[in-house]
Amino acid sequence: MNATAPGAVIGSVMGEPSATGRFGQFGGRYVPESLVPACAALEAAFRDAWADPAFHERLARLRSEFAGRPTALTPALNLSAQLGVTLLLKREDLAHTGSHKINNVLGQALLAQRMGKTHLIAETGAGQHGVATATAAALFGMRATVYMGERDIARQQLNVFRMELLGAEVIPVTSGSRTLKDATNEAMRAWVAAVDEAHFCLGSVGGPHPYPWLVRELQRVIGEEARAQVPATPDVVVACVGGGSNAAGTFAGFVDTPARLIGVEAAGGAAMTDGRPGVVHGYRSLVLQDDDGQVLEAESIAAGLDYPGVGPEHAHLGTTGRAEYRTVTDGEVLDAVRRLARSEGIICALESAHAVAWVLRAAGTPDLPTGSTVLLTLSGRGDKDMATLAGEVR
């Protein structure tokens, strides 16, 4: 894939990765031999299921009857008037459990069930993926074990209790940065030890093949719904990027349109902006790392973006120029949460507020000219962040 001018229409982008699970030079399956068969089995199961109308039907039912899809598209009328752009919000905050993470998890849980698995293992940062996993496990009668960094447990306590109430076991991770990075390590270690009965329910578009592809396909529903809801193709499509699943799902719906695709990272966890090619958590992508190749600890107020890597397809989209990536600071994010709350009556997650913060900053500049139409995926609701915000915003 060659570099492509932003806005050009590309049909094959965001299709299936190569046979070795690559998007351009990124992706792959860098896992211990112990996990290779499980990854291969998952890939086979996914291909099989994805070709099975009955699977799609079950998934569609769960999405509409259980998860509350389609989620609304809300015109942010007040902010639009203030900013001079037309801002449309894709409301993943309204999905059951409060974020887009449920889209992915319902699909993976159905797959796990199809594969005869009885146990879901997950990593979580903000806790939203953990809650979604615990939810699906409860619904499907499976066991759930969720690894979560100690630091994230402290700042997302609401979600910890939700997971426990749903019957999941939440295991505090005390190594390294005590955030998502290390929770992911622990989850993968736990998977090695339970690979027969356990499915690793990975929360974003990282990890070994087929996860980046699988998760993007399961999140594609965001973009496809939005595509059907917008009155016309937006000029810009924007979403926050942690691992990059809500952005990938959103972009997938618009990659074949002239819309510019913008991913917004946390300034302190900006793998697309500050990362170098590397391999962590089973995939090759852009990674925050020092000169010696040691992975750096990210630093973001948003637990879900506090991660040094990014899904390989984003690295590819960024390298080829089809998508662009920006960063915003914690301070801008706090302002964005408050501004959206006060202007539109929507309290979004700190993660989602990154996308809002970029719009607030860019509107009226050449990056987002006055008169533009912007589709923004609001990936989750902010209830989980009230404790953090109570300390920071006023």
Partner: protein
């Protein structure tokens, strides 16, 4: 002779080379040198801690290789680097990075083998070539879940020996040798003539002996690193490794056939 490959986290202490020498003196056939990585996905708590301790000391791949180079005259047994993909693939060849440069640097420091647990055979092509070009044996790992066709490929493509991951788990001490160890070693031996070393969780001389009754030797990691983390001296570790040596030698005496086989396969330089 049954092989004994103790593992040592590079730079775990300022005098880490002394542990290496102690291992050598205790009868190690080779030493696996861990090049510490921030995110050791396949390591349990002990080796994570050992890696963290080394990293907190400011240890780098370069500093470890420099230490090895400096100690070259004292080292008579083969050294095998064990690390993760990110350190191996880091950087572009144009800027002195990439696996090609990495393997050359290993060779320059006297290292002759390389184990990268998160580079399975499917992802090994480039590294394979780079290692071969630098004269480094790229040791592949096989796991209890590895199916027959993959096992055959691993046997075919591994160099030096095949690393049998004895258990579906991370590194770390275990009360019992995993039941999966012997069957895996047997399956590997069916597809290759390379020696099969059993690793992961071998914690006592008795377990080592049991493993060596099927395999051609053992890798001992966490059991040794825990002692080092607890403050044991190179002398202490020499005694520890010597106990493993004794146990393995006893197996040799029990099983003359196996010993003869091992002597013929001749991967010991």
């Amino acid at each position: 002779m049954k092989r004994l490959n103790p593992y040592l986290t590079g730079g775990i202490t300022p005098d880490w080379i002394d542990y290496l020498i102690a291992f050598q003196e205790a009868g190690a056939d080779a030493v696996e040198i861990g090049l510490p990585f921030s995110d050791p996905m396949l390591d349990g708590a002990t080796i994570q801690q050992a890696s963290d301790q080394a990293l907190r000391r400011g240890v780098t791949v370069a500093s470890i290789l420099a230490d090895l180079t400096a100690a070259r005259d004292r080292i008579r047994i083969p050294l095998i680097a064990m690390t993760y993909a990110n350190l191996v693939f880091r950087g572009a060849p144009a800027h002195g990075g990439g696996p090609e440069a990495f393997c050359r640097r290993l060779a320059d420091a006297g290292v002759s083998g390389l184990i990268v647990p998160d580079v399975p055979v499917d992802e090994a092509d480039r590294l394979d070539e780079a290692a071969a070009a630098a004269g480094i044996d790229l040791v592949l790992l096989a796991a209890p879940v590895t199916p027959a066709d993959r096992l055959a490929e691993i046997g075919r493509r591994s160099r030096g020996f095949v690393y049998a991951v004895s258990v579906m788990d991370t590194t770390g001490e275990r009360a019992l040798l995993a039941e999966t160890a012997a069957p895996l070693a047997r399956r590997i031996k069916e597809v290759t003539d390379l020696p099969v070393l059993i690793g992961f969780g071998i914690s006592t001389p008795a377990q080592a002996a049991a493993a060596a009754r099927t395999g051609d030797g053992v890798v001992i990691g966490a059991a040794l690193m825990r002692r080092v983390l607890d403050g044991a001296s190179p002398d202490d570790l020499r005694a520890e490794v010597a106990a493993f040596r004794t146990a393995l030698d006893q197996v040799d005496q029990e099983m003359p056939v196996a010993r003869a086989h091992a002597e013929i396969s001749g991967d010991r330089r």
